[in-house]
Amino acid sequence: MAQIKDPAEAPPTRPPPWNDPRIRAIVFQVLVSAGAVALAAYLVRNLMHNLEMRGISTGFGFLSNRAGFAINQALIPYSEESSTYGRTFVVGLLNTLLVSGLGIVFSTILGFIIGVARLSRNWLVAKLALAYIEIFRNLPLLVQILFWYFAVFLNLPAPSEALHIGDSVFLTLRGLYLPRPEAQAGFGWTVSALVAAIVASVVLAHWSRHRQERTGKPFPAYLGSLVLLAGVPLAAFVLTGRPLLWVKPELAGFNFVGGIAVIPELAALLLSLSIYTAAFIAETVRAGILSVSHGQTEAAYALGLRPSWALRLVIVPQAMRVTIPPLTSQYLNLTKNSSLATAIGYPDLVSLFAGTTLNQTGQAVEVMSMTMAVYLVISLVISMFMNWFNARMALVER
């Protein structure tokens, strides 16, 4: 080391490269990337070799090949003779979205009811809600699905001895049959009336809010909207002579025709998904309500606010902030769990595409990537929504 006359003037000493943290980081990353690339290359080489050995083609051309198998629930036209594998993808996707969407709606309703019940002052109601949550949370979803399908739905009577409500609703081993509404001439008026009612309630909400701000007098806008939404379309419906025909399911041979058919696979999957997820949603709702400190309720009451107003203006806004993120997480879980449809043969994306199609074409890589991509896109969309929601709703702090 050279003699330094004035230490402040000397340039900063640089450490030898092997001790410099920046260089170490770079070297480490280079090694990691090189390793990752090498591993990937090795795996891909094996993959190509194995595919070739078994005569499996690559690429997405298989999507336009004829599929040739039947599907017992298709929301878009699908024929065993002519539809392609690409179409099975779409059919499966739509079935997944159907069961997930309905599941989200039912589980939310049930979950909110049970979550509020859990907080009830009534000891019996609160304990029953607790029992529900503890029972269904701790039972694997697959056990519940299999139970509902094999032990319940497949033990229903045959169509000739169906359980029924009047002559419109039939529950059999082949499914649940409901009457199908068929719009007749003049139904358009009812639809337009509904649209008009929606617009009117929005206008009503705005007007009543402005009136309150101007004059101080509140107006029961929620009640008014409810009356509008229910009353106006109903009035239009009656006045145009009730133009709706209910096509009832009728027993023809071994099964029912006409009407809406809900296959037992869908019913079992939907029921178990809703019951299972509702237990988690109930806990989320409860945590959200409990997160609002009691002092908030007291301050609201002390100012003279009625309990219903305190709930609407003070408690629910704060509870919602805490509830929405885990709630969307549960929705995501429900959508992913719908893939268990494979176990009972409900034709969702995984069972149709990653199941039957993959077995028939052998093109595992393409099929699995497409399937996983769908779920990833759904997760991504929900994550983005949650980030947006959190940023928008976050309580402003220092």
Binding site: E213, L313, R321
Partner: protein, 261 residues
Amino acid sequence: MNAIQAVDSTANAASAGPAMVELHGVHKWYDRFHVLKDISLSVAEGERIVICGPSGSGKSTMIRCINRLEEHQRGRIIVGGVELTSDVKNIEKVRSEVGIVFQHFNLFPHLTVLENCVLAPMWVRKTPRKAAEQAAMEYLERVRIPEQAKKYPGQLSGGQQQRVAIARSLCMRPKVMLFDEPTSALDPEMIKEVLDVMVGLARSGMTMLCVTHEMGFAKTVANRVIFMDGGEIIEENEPEAFFMHPQHDRTKLFLSQILNH
């Protein structure tokens, strides 16, 4: 000195006025625990009462009974001529005439300061928004933070938040103001700003019941100081007599504990 004398004279005049808050033989139990024992108290209009005592003595419980945040099981409580029973209409009436300031502020974090203040006037007194906002700004000026009107509670310091809480209660134009240890949760340097606001409020003639350990405040502003222990009122007196010549042993012990530092 003049200010204090002025305040005293108002107090003496007011002690002959109509009773604003009356408690007659009030008892309260939490399950088996007897938390308020035979409380009788009369507060005239314009009087300022300071209530002190060790923790667990029932002081907070007592003032929270006055706006029905707690329910009493025996005895009568009459506020502004309205008796507090389980009648919901009576409770609402009393609550709109009584304001309370909590130890932990309890501002609504999802609303701005201004929105916190206009919420109750708009929904309970049906005041139009413009008028409510105007009045709110006046009160915010009175507590000396009008510039924070558009901010959210989370952006304010503890002292500022408590002052907003006071303004929020004042916007309902209450006849009585309750203070439940308003400065206990504040850092020392913020206590003065809140006490100043409370002194200003006292000077304007507001009827106040304060649970507090701030004895300086008691000496400046109170007409009466009440000492509670074990759920009962042990001693009541004018501030000077209370601090200089405590009568009861328990009072003497308490005062020696808090005045020594």
